[in-house]
Every structure is written in C-alpha cells, then in structure tokens.
Symmetry: C2
Subunit: 370 residues, 2 copies
Amino acid sequence: MPKGFKANALACGIKKSGKLDLALFYSSIAAKASCKFTSNKIQAAPIQVNRFHLRDNNTFRAVIVNSGNANCFCGRQGLKDAREVAGSLARSLGIRKKEVLMASTGIIGRRLPVKKIQQALPKLIGGLSLQGVDKAKRAILTTDTFFKTLTAQVSIGGRKVTICGMTKGAGMIAPDMATMLTFLFTDAHILNGALNRALEICVEQTFNCITVDGCMSTNDSIVMLANGSAGNALIEAGENFNLFVRSLEVVCLELAKMIVKDAEGASKFIQIKVDQARNFQEAKKLALAIANSSLFKTAVFGQNPNFGRIVAALGSCSVELKEEDLKVKVSPLQKKEIFVRVSVNRGRSSAVVYTSDLTPEYIRINAAYN
Amino acid sequence: MPKGFKANALACGIKKSGKLDLALFYSSIAAKASCKFTSNKIQAAPIQVNRFHLRDNNTFRAVIVNSGNANCFCGRQGLKDAREVAGSLARSLGIRKKEVLMASTGIIGRRLPVKKIQQALPKLIGGLSLQGVDKAKRAILTTDTFFKTLTAQVSIGGRKVTICGMTKGAGMIAPDMATMLTFLFTDAHILNGALNRALEICVEQTFNCITVDGCMSTNDSIVMLANGSAGNALIEAGENFNLFVRSLEVVCLELAKMIVKDAEGASKFIQIKVDQARNFQEAKKLALAIANSSLFKTAVFGQNPNFGRIVAALGSCSVELKEEDLKVKVSPLQKKEIFVRVSVNRGRSSAVVYTSDLTPEYIRINAAYN
C-alpha cells in the first residue's frame, strides 16, 4: 500500500461459505477521490450514496466494500441500509459520514445484512494494517478464481510515488464499464482536476476495453484515493502529469487484463486489434462487435478458425465497411492467447479490446449462481 | 403450395453428409415479389444478385436455394458464381435471368461449387411438382433439427387465397433480421405496393422480434412471391388487405417461433413482454436487452430465478427507467415455456420478443461447426 494507507478484511457472514466478505481501506490523512460508476440506469445503493458523498465534499478517508450481496434493486430500504453502514463506520472511525465511500458486489435484489456488518466493524477497524491488504484483496472477490493486484512506482520530481490497484470481476463484464470493482490508492500529491483527468484517460483504454459476456452490471465502481503522503510537488499538468498517467495506465491495463484472464469458464485470452479506422471509437466499436459475438467466442473455444463469424460481426455495426477492404488475421487457435487483427482501410486509428472465449463452463457457473 | 407453384430439391454434393442441399421453387406464371434482406454491411453474393434483379424488374418465376455454403465474403468471384447459377437456371427454365431470385446459407468464405449446381439443374427442374415442397423444406436447412412450414388460407372476396411459408434458422439469430431464410408463396392477386407493405408490417413484429444469440447474419433473406392464381379481386387496401395481412402475420409469427423453438442447443422457449413503454420501439429494445443477455439466458437454463439479471439488462439500455417503476414477473422456470413480463410505467406501448436459453449444447454445436 502507498504511504498513509491501511486495510483489513474479515468474514462477517454475508457469504454462506464463510469466506472473507468485508473489506476496509483507510487513509490516515485526508485523501482526494476520483470515481467512475456504471452507466447502467439501475444503480446499486452504494453507488447512489457515493454520488451524494462526492457531490460537495473534497476529502475522503475510508472505503468499505462487501462481497456476496450487491445491495441493488432493494428500493428505499437498500439506500437506507447503505447509509446506515456508512454512518456506523464513520462514527466508529471518528470521521465524517461523507468521508466514507463504499461498494458492494454479489447477488442483486437481496437485502444487505446491515447488523452483521455493524457487529464486525470494531474488529475490522481494530485490525487495520499495511499487511491487511492481503486479506482485503481476497474479500472483494466473488466468482473470481484469483486475486488481482498491481503496484507501480514512479519518481516524480525526485519523490517516489506509489500507485496500488486491486480489482475483482469475472462475469457480467462489458465495457462502460466492465462489471467489476476496482480500488486504486496512491500517495501522490495531485490536483483534484488532474486526478479526475488521469483516471478518465486510463479507464477509457483499459477497463472500458474489456468484455467477457457483454452484460452490464448495476454495481461497477472504480474508486481512487490520493492522499498526497509521497510529498511530491503538486501534479497539475505537463511532464509530471504524463509520468503519473503512464504509471496509472499500466496498473489499470494489467488489472483489466487480469479480469479477462479470470473470465468465468474461459479457456482462452483473446486480444482483438482493429486498425485503419476513422477514429478510436469506430475501431473500438468494431473490435467489441467481434468480442461480444457468441459465435466468434464459441469458435475460439472450439479452436475452429471460422473467420466468417468475424466478418459477420464486423458487418453488424453501423460502420460502412467494404468487403474488399477488410483484412482479417487470426493467430493459431490451439494456443492459450489468441490475437485477432482486423484492418478496415478507412483511416489511421486503432483500438485494442480484450475478451475471453465462451465455454460450457461459463454456462455451468452462471446457471448455478445464486 | 398455393396454386401455380411447384418445388423440388436434391443433394447436389455441397453438403458432405449427402443431405439435401439444393432447392428450387417455381411459379408457372409470372409472380410479383417482395423481399427483405439482412442489414449487415457484409452481404452475401446471392443478396447482391437479388437486389440487382429486383431493381428494374416486376416479374419473377424461380427461387433457387442452396444450403451448406453461404457464398459470402468470396469477393468478386462469389458474385460471379451467384450470377452464373442464376444464368444457368434461367436458360434451363427458359425464363429471363432477372426472373430468378436466390438464397444461400451455410459456411462463410468458401467458394460456391457452381459446377455441382449446374450439373444438378436438369434433374432439379425435371422433378418440379406440388409434392416437391416436402423435399424443398428439408433442403434449405443447416443446423435445424426440424423443418418449419406453415400454410394459411383466407377467403378474400369469396376466393380462397393460400399463403405457404417455410423457413430455416437455428443459430446466428438476431433481429434485423434473424439469421434465417424464409420463403413465402401465395396465389393472392395483390398490388405490388400492398405486397411490400404487408410483408413490412408482418416482419417487424415477427421475424424482427426473435433472437437466439444476438448474432447478425450476412445471408438473411425473406423472399415472397405472389402469382395471383387465386383469382381474387386485386388486394389494394381496406378490409381485404387487412384480411391478407392477418393471415400472413399468423404464418410469419408461427415460423418465427419455430426458429426459436429449434434454437441451437436450447432447452427453453422464452416469451418476453415489455409493456407500459413510450412506444413499440422502446418496448422492443428493452425486451431484446433481456433476450440477448447471456446471464439471463443461462439463469433460465439453470432454472435459477435470478431476477437481478433482468433488471441489470433493462438498465443497460439508454431508456430512463426508474427502479421504483419496474415490475418484473417470471413464470416458473421448471417448465419448457417461460413467460417474462416487465412493466416500466412510462406509457401504453408493448412488444413481445421470443428467445431461447443459452446452454452448454449451444456452445458444443457452434464450437464444432465448420
């Protein structure tokens, strides 16, 4: 963890399996925050609480996360429950309620067991430590089969700045955003606007370029805290900003790829590059059309080089492609990592999108989930 | 078959299995035609030929269909091959080349075996008969497990008018249009404009309201011929037009449902109704979001009433839904036919969409196809 951050996690009883299900991240000094939430019209209660806390407040101290329950589509009660958790945590930590951010992931439509969380708070807070992040990175998981963390360090004006990221997600992954929770912590001293801009730039080409099943979640959140403990000169723009963005991008891209590598039931990791497009958005749209095609994904699973399915997917977008302009290359399907490259002869922009194959195991996992 | 139509089919060797793969439909008198083709930007060669034939020509006599090869993404050679088939058929039948319509379905990107088709033409034409439709309805199939035909009769001005439809399709089924070939034959005497309008009305609420896997084909075609042999007073508008549309709609809806019932690997038939929407398009968009959600489809396969996935799918559309306005009902998942009903409290329009569940068998079929 970067300077000034601690974490802890425990099993409070939300998951019947007895696995870790409640995590707390804490900054001992006031941190700036930048967040991204799902664009789904149905948004989970913790996201609604976060939006309210972010509205007229600039400092944050804690992020509380539970897995096993999404606290979504629970009506006013869900919102009340989320607020109660935030309030109890703030009182216990001696901070303002608005300094709390939160996230939930798990089953939709079941009431959050607030009492269980409240009863666990003293132990959760008492155990906050640098090492606690090892438990926290596990407590945020649901169907994930491995934890996903990455730390980058960059020297900015002679000071070492650390960016630590962790994420969860394996299914219900679609861009804008992928179904996932991501937490990013940095000790960088950075202007609020620069922090937002940095996150915006990085997310667009990383978490917004992955898809597992094209399904958009109600709980997606990226929460980033920057507490300034690194003591670097304030990052605003220019070279220092670029250095910070490059490090953050590495963290985000690797975390995003880890989600795809852990995709539910997947046997392949697929990288799709579309180039010669008019602009990035067009390239991304075409790449995603392939990435979200069930027929393409099953062909990869079957190691069956059925390039007609790639062409059919490309043509289903509203992009005016010409058959004679298309070039499609697919690497050998026997390998674990597959590369698809499509050139469309329309311009100079490109995009890379990451996805997985579609397997009987994906269906088994999701048929039984709940 | 309606009056004046004949059909035949045989195995010309396109399918290695030796199954029927070449069908011919023939009208002994000149027929009017109305067609719908895929909106995919990559369109198979036979569709390009049809568009050309439909441009400045009003009478049609024959429809030739092959299965096992899509004749798509084969460049100029594909177009040349399709034209050659149309030309040979026209010569053999003694009709103009432009009076031929055609359709192909099967693997994309392989050259059509024109010679095999040409060699089969004499036998194909020689065997044209009323009973030939029994072979033809089989020859248009690919992964279908049963043939799909329906005939309706309606009395118009005291004359019996027959509408006979047949269709194929089981995978790569998405709306606008579903991946399928549909052939509709009627002996109705009907104005060209009325025929087009009737087909337009019927397709929008039937073939454009089904989805299996959200994948759009390059070969979708609906070809309808009306040869006027019923001897009814010309159908233009008013009550006779409405009678004709109602019959055609029954045929189209039942054929569309048959496609979904034969969906690759499916174990359930799912009907999704969204009501209280602002308009039909909005209702359809919401219903399709559910129908195309892999997570919803696997939940139905698993008989796992995970209504959160319905809510997440609804929210992923760009429709301004409010959580408190949503009502979601799902019939018991143990049954073979599932009914989903969603009310959104925004208006008075509704739409019904038909789909199937997503199963390990779908993946096995499509992983091995080719």
